[in-house]
């Protein structure tokens, strides 16, 4: 087990990883993924999608039913968590309550048989990095949430592992601190260059932190890609709706006239080019920020609620019975009940098969 990353490239490989619980419930359906050294990978999805389970399988806290997990070129399926050369940060931090900050960070190194002065050196280095020097003699109880969070990270960093695993580390912090810590973690990871797997249910966190992300739903990897790939070309309706805030608008439509016309809510919408589709039942998607107001716009939207955010306005409206959200720059002078005419930017259409949800 070498800690020298130049000799031993950090590299996590998941090959057909599956998890089936003894009661027959299949939590993870065959996930394949290659993670390059130094990548920041975010596992994101709604609660119960299996993202934490997958992370815990990589950590060794959860058994692997079938498939293989490789870390730094070694198959680790049968290895104990401590032998996998990973470090984990838990949602509730899981600091040892009876140990000082120093001992919390030193405990893992002590168990590895690291010499005392080496432990001392490393703990002090990391404490400096995370601005914990003055807190080393405190107990976790005497720390604030943000400080505990940093200690939990320090405990992970001090071991110089092949990979960091984060399990929703920011969800116990208040909103402002969460945004701060997001940056701290991202910067630290970039500086240390350690491969990272990060679990969150917050898509904004996922988008801002990830080099690449995995969107999970019911134990299935819906899409793996960079944040912009997922934003621009979501592979499924689920990904399209999950990534981006406010969420994408969807309209159920019928494809007609040999794939060149779209019918919905009494509107005949002519497409720029022919859409090749097996089915005529189409879900038409477009993002709130890809709508512009225009006097001769095709959509007649009835305003229901306006949120003024200063730099932009979020308008919740209805097209017939379908809710449509608009995101417009600046202040919009409209009242509830007004009708707005709008167009959708031509390059920003998304089409999905209504039945399977797959992108067309």
């Amino acid at each position: 087990m070498s800690h020298d990353s130049s000799q031993n490239p950090s590299h996590i490989r998941l090959k057909g990883v599956e998890k089936i619980y003894p009661n027959g419930y299949k939590a993870i359906h065959g996930i394949d993924m290659e993670i390059e050294e130094g990548e920041f990978i975010v596992l994101v999805g709604p609660s119960g999608c299996g993202k934490s389970t997958l992370l815990r399988m990589v950590a060794g806290l959860e058994g692997i039913t079938s498939g293989e997990v490789h870390i730094a070129g070694r198959k680790v399926n049968e290895l104990e968590p401590s032998q996998r050369d990973i470090a984990m940060v838990f949602q509730n931090y899981a600091l040892y309550p009876h140990m000082t900050v120093y001992k919390n960070m030193a405990y893992g190194l002590k168990n590895l048989g690291t010499p005392k002065d080496e432990i001392d050196k490393r703990v002090n280095e990391v404490a400096k990095l995370l601005e914990l020097e003055k807190l080393l003699d405190r107990r976790p109880k005497q720390l604030s949430g943000g400080q505990r969070q940093r200690v939990a990270m320090g405990r992970a960093i001090v071991r110089k592992p092949t990979a960091f695993l984060f399990d929703e580390p920011l969800s116990n912090l208040d909103a402002k601190l969460r945004v701060q810590m997001r940056l701290v973690i991202k910067n630290l990871q970039a500086r240390l260059g350690t491969t990272t797997l990060y679990v969150t249910h917050d898509q904004v966190e996922a988008m801002t932190m990830a080099d690449r992300l995995i969107v999970l739903k019911d134990g299935i990897a819906e899409q793996i890609g960079t944040p912009m790939e997922l934003y621009d070309k979501p592979k499924t309706k689920f990904v399209a709706g999950f990534i981006g805030s406010p969420a994408m608008n969807f309209i159920e439509a019928k494809l007609a006239n040999d794939g060149i016309e779209l019918h919905f809510g009494g509107i005949n919408f002519t497409l720029k080019e022919k859409l090749n589709s097996q089915t005529s039942n189409i879900t038409f998607g477009f993002r709130p920020e890809h709508i512009t107001l225009s006097n001769n716009g095709a959509l007649n939207l009835k305003v229901e609620l306006i949120e003024h955010l200063g730099a932009e306005s979020i308008i919740h409206s209805k097209l017939g019975e379908t809710p449509i959200t608009l995101r417009l720059n600046g202040h919009i002078d409209a009242k509830n009940g007004d009708t707005l005419n709008a167009n959708i930017n031509v390059d920003s259409y998304h089409f999905f098969d209504s039945e399977s949800g797959v992108r067309i």
Binding site: A59, G60, L61, E80, P81, S82, I86, A87, M88, F90, Q91, N92, A94, L95, Y96, P97, H98, M99, Y107, G108, N111, L112, R155
Partner: protein
Amino acid sequence: MIENRPVSTAISHIVLLAGVAIVLFPIWITIVAASHDVARLLEVPLPLGLGDQFFENLKQVVGKGVEGSTPIGIMLFNSLVMALMIAFGKISISLLSAYAIVYFDFRFRMLFFWMIFITLMLPVEVRILPTYEVVAQLGMLDTYWGLTIPLIASATATFMFRQTFLSVPDELLEAARIDGAGPMQFFWDILLPVSRTSIAAMFVILFIYGWNQYLWPLLITTDKNMVTIVMSIKGMMEALEETPKWHHIMMTALLAMIPPVLVVIGMQKLFVKGLTETEK
């Protein structure tokens, strides 16, 4: 109660004071009896105020002992050894069995748990003959082992530690596993320190339980040097077929009360914490 209701405050104080009086009265009588000479205690009515013989009696009991009885020092020592062995024995065994039941997934785990649990229905008094037989066969009569081992297995403590361990967050175990701690290391380094208040609370309860053992020591000790202080008090009342020496008996009783009181007072803070603390 935040609101100010003088009537209910008064009533609750009266009830509390009555409770205190009921608890304190016998102790007061003990102190009073220990402070008179034997002649005064045989007169009617019995005295309710302190006499002047307290230190005289103390000197007599501690220095020379009560006639016909083992010296008080030996008895106190025997009681102390018995109470400590029972308390430590019960705590060690219960900690280990609770650890096994909570953290290890072995076959028939729940069966074992319930088997331990139903021993609650089998205190020493119920199984006294077979237990005596076993102890006698093992040659442990008149030994400290014989005094303590049959009392050590404890379902109550196992159950209590099980509850304590269940309230320890799983993430602590997981963090320790990632930090490379094996099962026994996790037990020593994390679980025991985290459960220390519960252990202290159990120690207080079990020390008093051990100290107050009467029937079992009475059965298996015949050697004068193995007599414990609690059983000796009864013996003193029947000694030598003469009038009981109440002033010395009460002084002995008073001395017998001191160690449990010290344990309770010394560990009071941890005791309360151990029984009420929910957050680990």
